[in-house]
Each structure stands twice: as C-alpha cells, then as structure tokens.
C-alpha cells in the first residue's frame, strides 16, 4: 500500500483546484449561491464510479470544494445521501438532474434547494419544509415536512459521511493557512513583512502541522471507507474530530494573523470560518466523536 497520492489523483486534485478557482474566486458575489450542478455532472464529479474512481477520489474533490468554499449541495448529495440511492436515482444524480440531502437531528442542509431528502432511517421525502438560519449562510438548513415518503433501496454509511465532512474541513483549513501565509508575506509593519516575526509565523507553523496531520487521517479514513476496511468507523470518527477542529483553529489563527482586515465582512476569511464551524457542528461534534473512539478503545 502506498500512502502518498498517485499521479492521477494529484492531477484530479489540481484540475479541481483550477476549475473551482475560476468558477468560485475569492472576489465572487458571495450572495449568489449558484451551484453549477450541470457542470459538475459534465465533469463527472457526480458519478466518479463511471470513471473507475472511488471514495478516495471523492474525498479529494471534497477537499478542493472546501478549499474553494463551494456553496452547492455536493457533500449532501454525494457525501451523505448517495449510499441510500438506487441505481436509477444515482443515474439522475449523475446526469445533474437531482440534488439530495439528509435529515440529521431534525435539520436538513439545503432543504430549499435540493429535490429529495433521506430521513427516518431510509425513507425519501420530497424536499419541503420551513427554512432555518445556519451558522454558514451558504449552507442553509430547513426542517422537513414529512409527506409522500418512499422507501429507499440503499443503506446508511456513517463513516463515509463523516469522512466527507473531514475532507471538506481539510480543504477549509488549507485555505485558511494559505490566506494567512500570503498575508504574512505581504503585509508590512515596522518596515518588515509581519511573517518575519515569530509571534506571527509560529501559529501558522502550528496550523501547518494540524493540516498535515488532518490530511493523513482524512486519506486514511477515505481509504478505509473505499476498501470497506473494518477500521472505517474508527478512522472516520478520528478524521472528522481532528479535521473539523483543525479547520476551526486554522481559521481563528488566520483571522488573528490578518489583524483588523480579517475581522471585516469585506474579507472572505469569515466565509471559511463559518464553513468550518458548520462542519464542526453538523452530525457529531468532536467531543462526541472522541467519546465514541474512547468507548471503542476501552471496550
């Protein structure tokens, strides 16, 4: 087993980085929550199995979607809902005709913009209900009105969903780090780039180690999920706890490194911070995940 990404995986990641940077630049209109769903279908991202790829590659795409702070329901459809869906439903997703979400603790991400919602341990409902404000405005919630439910063919895959969140969080953490490093290289105070000062550079170095450790856990968990390895539940819990916390901390350190500008609405950093807080809070929180891990270790 080789734990470094192969050339095809690196290329996929680079293509995603470039495509997303072009469609979702930092100076975009952040209120326009256009998801370019048809284009994702054309890229093959809504059905990677078609190209002979698997969950490791999906995790790499999720990482890049996090890096770009992509606003659409990719993680809800592909990361969370996909294992429940029949071949016909997957085909409609692959064609860019359907968006899906899941009901978790009574909250449905993107309820207002998806077509169907998985709820009640395996029932599909048309997406209807009242909107609920979210910590991340690009990732709104709703409370589902359960009517006209149909049973689903597939099953829950919690490790997959958790690893998807972890992968996105990894991308967010990497972007917060990159923004902080860029600012520390270019912002001058006392006639020097502020990154010269260790009080500024060392928190960024700390974030770097967080990001690399998170990356190792995410790729490990993604591999376990892809291979149906028995360690998948534990690896996914570990990856989600670590990566979502790392993303929040990375954004907080980056805001501090940016100084006043990092605290403004104008600067995009708060978008990433809100995304990190969403990821850290959705489904299972880090402390809960750690208790799960502890219970497994002490059993």
């Amino acid at each position: 087993m080789d734990f470094a990404l192969n050339d095809d995986q690196l290329e996929l990641k680079q293509q995603a980085r470039t495509w997303l940077a072009d469609r979702f630049p930092l100076d975009r209109d952040w209120d326009a929550l256009e998801d370019r769903w048809r284009e994702l279908a054309e890229l093959g991202w809504l059905d990677v199995a078609e190209a002979g790829l698997g969950f490791v590659e999906e995790a790499l795409l999720l990482e890049e979607l996090g890096y770009a702070c992509y606003p659409g329901p990719y993680i809800a459809t592909v990361g969370f809902a996909l294992p429940w869906l029949s071949a016909e439903q997957r085909a409609r997703v692959a064609a860019g005709e359907e968006r899906w979400s899941v009901d978790v603790n009574g909250l449905v991400p993107w309820l207002g913009s998806v077509d169907f919602v998985v709820s009640d341990g395996g029932t599909a409902y048309p997406a209807r209900g009242e909107a609920v404000a979210s910590v991340d405005p690009s990732r709104p919630f709703g409370r589902l009105d359960k009517a006209d439910g149909e049973p689903l063919a597939g099953n829950r895959n919690l490790p997959r969903a958790r690893t998807a969140s972890a992968a996105e969080a990894l991308g967010v953490a990497q972007r917060a780090l990159d923004l902080g490093v860029e600012h520390a290289k270019t912002r001058l105070q006392f006639e020097k780039a502020i990154g010269t000062y260790q009080a500024v550079s060392h928190p960024l170095a700390q974030t770097y180690t967080d990001v690399e450790l998170a990356r190792s856990l995410v790729y490990w968990a993604a591999w376990c999920v892809a291979e149906n390895d028995e360690r998948a539940p534990l690896a996914a819990a570990a990856a989600m706890a670590f990566a979502t916390e790392a993303a929040v901390a990375a954004c907080e350190r980056s805001i501090q490194v940016h100084g006043g500008i990092g605290f403004t609405w104008e600067h995009p950093l708060h978008r990433f911070y809100k995304r990190a807080l969403w990821l850290e809070g959705f489904g299972s929180r880090p402390a809960e995940l750690r208790l799960e891990v502890a219970n497994a270790l002490l059993a």
Partner: protein
Amino acid sequence: MAGPTIIAHGTEEQKARYLRPILAAEEIWCQGFSEPDAGSDLAAVRTRAERRGDVYVVNGQKVWSSFAHIAERCILVTQSDPDAPRYQNLTYLLVDMHAPGVEVRPLRQITGEAEFNEIFFSEVQVPVENRLGEEGEGWQVAMTTLLHERATLGFALTATLDAAFGRLLEEAREREVDPRVREGLAREWIELQALRYTNYRALGTYKRTGVPGPEGSGVKLRWSEANQRLTKLARELRGPEGILDDGWWNHQQLRSRGNTIEAGTSEVLRNIISERVLGLPRSR
C-alpha cells in the same frame, strides 16, 4: 545519522572503513554538535580544529552527546577558520573516541540518569583523512546529518509513543476512567494515528521522488508535545497515586520535558516550517 552522512559525503576509503561496522553494530557513534554556547545556533560552535601538517588538532567542548560514554567514534563539527565568514568556517571530522585527549563526562539529568555526556577535547590529533567533506564545508555536511535525523527519527518516535499509549490503555482498562480521561485517551490515540499515517505518506513521497517531502517536517514537533501530554494523562488516570514514583510514568513525565528541546527545539522546528515549508521570510 553518521551512516547516511558518510554515504552522502564520504570518500570510497571512508565508506569502506566505517559503514560495515555500523551495519554490523560493531561500532557505536555519537554526535558532537551542540556546545555550551552553541545550541540552536549551531553555526556558532567554537571547538577548534587547527590544521598542522597531516592532522587537525582539536580543542574544545561538546555537550548533550547521547551514548558518548560507550561510543567508538564521533561525528564532530568544528570551527577550522576563525577568520572565514559564518557557515564557511566549519569542518566536519570523524573522531576516534579512544584517541588521547578525549574525555567523556556523564551529565546527570532531570531524571537522575546520565543518558547524555559532555565531551572534552584537548590537543586531540585527528588525521586529515578523517575529514568528511572539504575543509570549510562542515555546515553543509552537518545539514545532511540533521536532514536524516529528522527524516527518520519520526518513525522510531511514533513507535515509542505507540508503545507508551498501549501501556496507558492497558492501565485504563483496569480502572474506572472518568469522562475527561476517556476523551484524553481518544485525543491521544487520534494524534498517534495521524503521526503514523503522516510517516507513511512521507515515506511514500520519499520512495517516489527520492527526496524527503515536507509532510514529515512537523512529526517530531507534534510527537514531542503528544508524548508530554500522554504523561500528564497518565497522572490523571492514576489519580491520587499519580504522586507516587511508579518507576515508569514518573520517569516518562520527567524525561518527556527534554522532547521539545532535543534534536531541534520546538522553536527552531517552527522556524524551519515557517521558512522552508511555508516560505515566510527569515526571522533573523
């Protein structure tokens, strides 16, 4: 550390002479880098090597040399030209620890043990053929040693952390564990897996490209902090008994304070990440 440096910079004679006894575990080497006045600032070493005909005459003092008391040989960084500019004034020597004028004094540390030593050199004659690399190029040779130290150290360190964690987990299984300690155990297990797979990723990159990638540069930094936290968690787990010297955790607690200092202080390692990995400007 000595072996890879000799492979990288040694003459054919040096490779033939030194590598086989290292592989066969017949000759132990120690490291003569740090000095009382040159710790993180390694380029400031003052142990003097003066060329006299076919020999260098070495005078000075080294410190924090693990295993110097049982070592046959020493990789020694010396200052060979007091007038040359910084980084161009060092020479790297391979020194026989049994040569006249070499004196080793054990250094008792916080645990009460003497794992490290001071080495004193007075008029020690080192043949010119025992120089590794050119005169004045000792800094580059020393960087090779440190690169290999940091590239491979992570594997051994992660393995020792794994063993210590396993021990703590065994003890935890025999006790009532409060929720705070349970969460701490999970946190350390997660960090341990993260270190393990970071090592594997670094090895994967190394295998494919032939050069160590940046992945592993944070491993020693994070390992040292994890090892320190683990000893505190053990104290929590042991409760009132945490105050007793149990012969293991108490020792670990004290010994772990050295982890963030030895083989590059955490502050130096953060500088290295900031400057060489993140590309931030030099802080000095």
